[in-house]
Every structure is written in structure tokens, then in C-alpha cells.
Symmetry: C2
Subunit: 393 residues, 2 copies
């Protein structure tokens, strides 16, 4: 959105098709919550946002589940000076695929997160200090069980649908297995029923970058401090895995920063300390991604959530993915993207195949994009049409 | 090689097909060397090894060029207690594809390297201390020009062939362009005439991990010290890009370390400090790769050489790759590997296509492997046959 467009938007914050200004809320559960690992905490908070209105029957709600680095703010703006709308604003709003004129759309920051929900940054009632690494290990199922409690508190009797991409898709699948009578239609994009070794490997390098940063300090860093270097490195690397070779070639190619700045070639020697400075535009972009991430994300949360991703394995307990899906009652739409090399199409197709083998109603769509894993987040009329039709059917 | 096999080997170090015990040598050039960046040093050293014998005409030599993390030790062992032979030992030896009964095989650690050749670890004559980041920026062409000087000192009049994979392949191509009358046949594998944005991006994350490690200390760390954490992170990440999703799935899958140790599940909370410890075998493998790398590689060298990789762009100066290849006289064999996603097949094919368009004799072979970028280093009878036939033709 350029400045001119922003001015228009400020003049009409709730313009047609936009949810406008929204405010997050906190759900506080005072009931004890027992994690899959067996540890119980006295209660928890989930920060969330909703868009649209819940109908009298409490059955027009759509739950949006966010990805690793996402949060509850998936549509609208928080103030007129907000330059960026929620992360799935292109999907959610009046008349959009998740039509807030029809549906009550809700999204919560996950348990273990750092955007207001209970996680490693929260105060440990036992010590009066942040949990840090005293926070219990969290699983995708824990995230889902916490959200189930919150959704009931909103008066939702049964979801119309649950939707998410990447880790959001894992939650969608877990919801379908754990709360089959509550969950409604399942829409899972660019996801996997269990990561392969390569995805685990990338997460592990990110964790090591954090854990071995001296400022991690055993997880007991001060709020606002912490392993900024390690977290930025983790994010830079992960960000590459969200894109594709083709999209990076198109967006950056081998363009040098100096070509824009009209500056001379890089210095002949690093003597000045600048030879390893930014030379290529893609370097500048990645550094920016790393720096902006450390200003909004907690390193311990990153450790916990990335571990939850790695440990997610629907098939493991049941013996097979098909067996794991036995409880599912919902109809499912699984979407893979051809250029997604983090959670490749075959992993998405395998979900749909297992659902079908388990006798469930499932559709699989493979969208040809060259935008990589992040395709599910980006402008895609084809995806919107699929979602709209599937929700209405 | 298991222990039993090693015992056999120790009993017969020069057994048929093996070059046996070898010793590195140092070539010292006392002539000034001017880098592409314009900086001149009074001379340089290249550490090298040779296998086989140079004939009287001095024309049966094959130059082997190593990759980013490789070195001059590409065949044989250094002592009877050596448990690991040189990095291309499967290709080089009596009767092997690079047959040391016929050819005089030579390999030098590159200029800018850290295994004995002049690089950032070397003493800066101007200060009496290691160059560190006062070392001039080094290019692939600098590496090649330094090797050309060394090869002439060996009495080589004209190479029979030049061979290398990855960064070694870049040197091969550069050799063909810069020293067309000296270079002989060109064999370049799993390489590129210029990296794309994704490869640059991975290198940049590795550099940032090093540069932002407090122990990097502006590049002025003590020998044996330095940014061990950053270098290990860089290596772990890079190592993923040398493998493939399929080979990692086969080698590690989701196997957990505890399954082997027969230990119970990971702890429920990281309280003990162990929750982010190794859980999956792939994590253990990567940590080992990172740790062993920091014991043999210099962080500043990594910065310089990875920068040389990123800056290599044969087409840039000449306007096109076809134009860049105009001086080439040699016959070329370019080999791409289907599972190489670091320097994908299309980048290898583009080299052969440009050579052909420039009117040169070039062949392109695409080998179907699922071992990723490192395929060129691994056991491959198909590759050996290609090499053998191409050298003999």
C-alpha cells in the first residue's frame, strides 16, 4: 500500500471490503490447564481478535489458525496510523472469501506465543518472574485445546469452519481429530501431517543460533533483551525457506544495492569494515527481515513453537495417518502449492489421500504458483475462489 | 570405512587402486601478486598435493579444483592412522577415473583458504600479525591466476584437464576463459556460472552468523579462537543445502536419538535444560557437522570464499555467458545432478548451452541422483565412466 492509498484508507477506515479498525481482546481461563507433557498451569490467557458478528445459533464462526511467526491480528488495522493490515487481510473482510458479513471470524495468538497469549514471556506464578524455559513444552494439540476452551467462551456451539496455513494447517488437522463435533469444515493449506528431516534440520539450525547466542543466557534474559543476533539469524534463514528460488530470482536476482544507490563498487578490501556489508539487494532484504522480527518476537517462544512444529506427527500415535483421521467428521479442503519446498505438495496430497482412505470427504487442490511456502499468504484469486466455494457448499 | 577395513588398509597402505600415503607441499611465489581488487601482496604460498608422475613433455597433468570447504588433500592418506582419505579419493588413484598411473593429478588449497595457502590466517608482512579482514577481497579469478603460477612452477606446459565441482567447477570455467591455451579439457560438475538470489541468501545468512558473533571481534580474533558459534551455525545451515530432502528423509527421517539410546521420551519441560537438546537424529548429525567444521576451518576464510562465490559472474563483464566463453578452446563436459537444488540442473545446462552457442565443443550430462549438491563427491560409477571416457577421448 503506497502513501496515497493509505491516505484514502485513513479517510475511510471501514471502506467497503475492509474490516476497518479492530482491537484485540484477552480471554482469561482461570481453570487449570494440563499440557500434553503432563505439567499443569493454573490458567492461561489467549489474546484474540474477531471480525463480523456471531449469529444467535452460535454456528457461523470461522476459526483462523496462525503460522509460526503469525499472531491473532489477521485482518483490519489497529489505528488510523497503522500502515499494515492484519496478515490475512486479503482473505478476510466484508465480501471477501472469509466474508465478515456472513461469518464471525476469530483468531487467537497460540498458547506458547508472545503476542499476548500465555507463553515463555508470561509471569510464572510460582516465581513471579517470566517462565522462560520453565514454561512447559507445548504441542500443537495443546494450542488447539486452549483455543477450544476460548471458542466455547465466545458462545460458539460449533464452528462453521477452521482454516489455516503452515502451522495453522497443522492446528486445523489436529482440531479435526481432537474436536470432530465442534470443528466444522477443515481448510488446511501449505501444511504437513509431519515434517520431514529437512524441515526439522532448518528449525534446528534456527534453535541453535538462539541457544548458542550468549545473550540467550539459559533462557533467563530480561524482557526486551535476549538473543537478538541468534533470533535474527534464525529468522533470516527461515525466511529463505518461505520463498522460492524462482520468486527470489524475480524479486532480487543478482541486483546490487549500489546499482540503486548509484554508488561505486564495493571496497577492494574489508579494511574499512565494509567489504562484508550489504552488496546484493537480497542481503539487504534478509537483514531487514531479521531486524524487524527481533522487535516483535520472543526468542524462547520461537524455540517452543518451532519444537512444537517438529514434534507434530499425527500418524505416530495412531500408527498411520489414515488411522489418525478416523475420528474426523468434517469435510476437508487441502491445498498445496507447487513451489512450496518447505511443506511440499506431496505432503499436502498425502493428507487428502489419508482422509479419503479413512472414508472422509476431502478435496485436494494443487495451485501452481512460484511464490513458495508463503503462497498461502499472498494475493491469490484462485485460492479465494476455492475457499469461498468450499465454505458455501 | 569400518575398523576391520581400516586394519586391512593399514597393513597395505598403497594397495591396488589407492594412492597410499601422501604429503602436502608448499609452493612459495616470491613474485608480487595483484588481486582483481587492485591490491598487491609481495607473494603467496599455495599448499598442494600431487599424485602420479608428470611425464617428460609435462602434458599429462590434471588439475583438481576444490569446493568452498574443501582443500588440497583430495586423495590418499597422510599417515597410517588416518581414518579418512582425501575428499575425492573415490575418483583419484591407480586405475580409477583420474588414473594416477596415467595422469599427474594436482590440487592446491585456494588463495584465501585456510589449509596452508595464503589467506586471512597468514601473517600480514606489513603488521607481523594475521591479515584477518585486511586480506584483500579474493575472486575466483584470483584463485585461478595463483594456481596457474604454481602449475607452471611444476613444469606443466599444458594441463591435460581441469576438473572440479561446485566452487571447483567455477574455477574450471574461469580457467577455460582466462588460460585457454594452458587448461586442457574442462570438467565442471554441480556448478554455476553465477549464483542466483537464493544461493547468495544462504551465504549471507552464514556470513551474518559469523560477523555478528561477538567472538568475531571485527575479524581480529586470536588463531584457534574466533566465532566458533557463528561458524558452526553457518556450516550447519550450508550443509542442509548440500543434501536433498529425499536423501535426508532416507538417512534420518524422523528417527529420534532416544530410539537408539533406548531412552525415554524427551523431558516434559526444559526446566532441566534438556528440552532443546538433541531429539531427532538429523539434529545430532548437523551439530556434529558444525562442531567438526570449526575445528578445521577459519571463519574469515569462510567470509572471503563465500563472498567470492557470490561475486562470481562470468556473464557480467562480457555481457553474456556466450560472449564470456569466446576465448575457450577446450572441450568441456558439464554435469548437473537432478537433486541439486543449490546449483540446479538448469544452471549447469545453461553453461553447456552457452559454450555450444559460442561455437565450442561441449557436452552436458544430467545424472539422476537424489543425493543433492554433494552428489559430485559421492560414489557414482556413472560419473566415473563419464570422466574416464571424456579424459580418454
Amino acid at each position: 500500500m503506497n502513501d496515497a492509498a493509505l491516505d484514502d484508507f485513513e479517510a475511510a477506515p471501514a471502506e467497503p471490503g475492509e474490516v476497518g479498525i479492530v482491537a484485540p481482546c484477552d480471554y482469561v481461563s482461570a481453570e487449570p490447564f494440563t499440557f500434553d507433557c503432563g505439567i499443569t498451569i493454573p490458567g492461561f490467557t489467549l489474546r484474540y481478535e474477531t471480525y463480523g458478528h456471531l449469529n444467535a445459533a452460535g454456528d457461523n464462526a470461522i476459526l483462523v489458525c496462525h503460522a509460526l511467526s503469525g499472531d491473532h491480528h489477521c485482518a483490519g488495522i489497529h489505528s488510523l496510523s497503522d500502515r499494515k493490515a492484519g496478515w490475512w487481510n486479503n482473505l478476510i473482510g466484508p465480501g471477501k472469501a472469509l466474508d465478515t458479513n456472513r461469518y464471525f471470524v476469530a483468531c487467537a495468538n497460540v498458547l506458547g506465543g508472545c503476542q499476548g497469549s500465555t507463553g515463555p514471556l508470561s509471569t510464572n506464578p510460582a516465581t513471579g518472574r517470566p517462565f522462560g524455559v520453565d514454561f512447559p513444552l507445548v504441542t500443537i494439540r495443546d494450542m488447539v485445546r486452549a483455543q477450544h476452551r476460548w471458542l466455547q467462551s465466545l458462545g460458539i456451539t460449533r464452528l462453521h469452519a477452521t482454516i489455516g496455513g503452515s502451522m495453522g494447517g497443522m492446528q486445523v488437522l489436529q482440531f479435526g481429530v481432537t474436536f470432530p463435533d465442534f470443528v466444522g469444515k477443515l481448510l488446511a493449506f501449505a501444511t504437513t501431517a509431519r515434517e520431514g528431516a529437512q524441515a526439522i534440520a532448518f528449525n534446528e539450525v534456527g534453535r541453535q543460533a538462539i541457544l548458542q547466542d550468549p545473550d540467550w543466557a539459559g533462557g533467563n534474559y530480561p524482557i526486551g533483551g535476549g538473543p537478538r543476533v541468534g533470533l535474527a539469524i534464525a529468522r533470516m534463514m527461515a525466511h529463505i525457506t518461505y520463498l522460492s528460488d524462482a520468486s527470489m530470482a524475480r524479486k532480487f536476482g543478482r541486483r546490487q544495492v549500489s546499482e540503486r544507490r548509484n554508488a561505486p563498487h564495493p571496497p577492494a578490501s574489508p579494511k574499512s569494515g565494509h567489504a562484508f556489508d550489504v552488496q546484493f539487494e537480497v542481503e539487504s532484504y534478509l537483514r531487514y527481515q531479521g531486524q524487524s522480527f527481533i522487535n516483535r518476537f520472543d526468542a524462547n517462544s520461537y524455540l517452543y513453537i518451532s519444537r512444537a512444529l517438529d514434534q507434530f506427527d499425527l500418524a505416530a500415535e495412531a500408527g498411520s495417518l489414515e488411522a489418525a483421521f478416523a475420528p474426523v467428521t468434517a469435510e476437508s479442503l487441502i491445498v498445496g502449492f507447487t513451489s512450496d519446498w518447505l511443506f511440499p505438495t506431496d505432503q499436502n496430497r498425502a493428507i487428502a489421500t489419508a482422509l479419503l482412505r479413512a472414508g472422509k470427504r476431502a478435496s485436494y487442490a494443487e495451485l501452481a504458483t512460484d511464490l513458495g511456502h508463503d503462497s498461502f499468504l499472498l494475493e491469490s484469486p484462485e485460492l479465494y475462489d476455492l475457499v469461498r466455494d468450499f465454505l458455501a457448499a
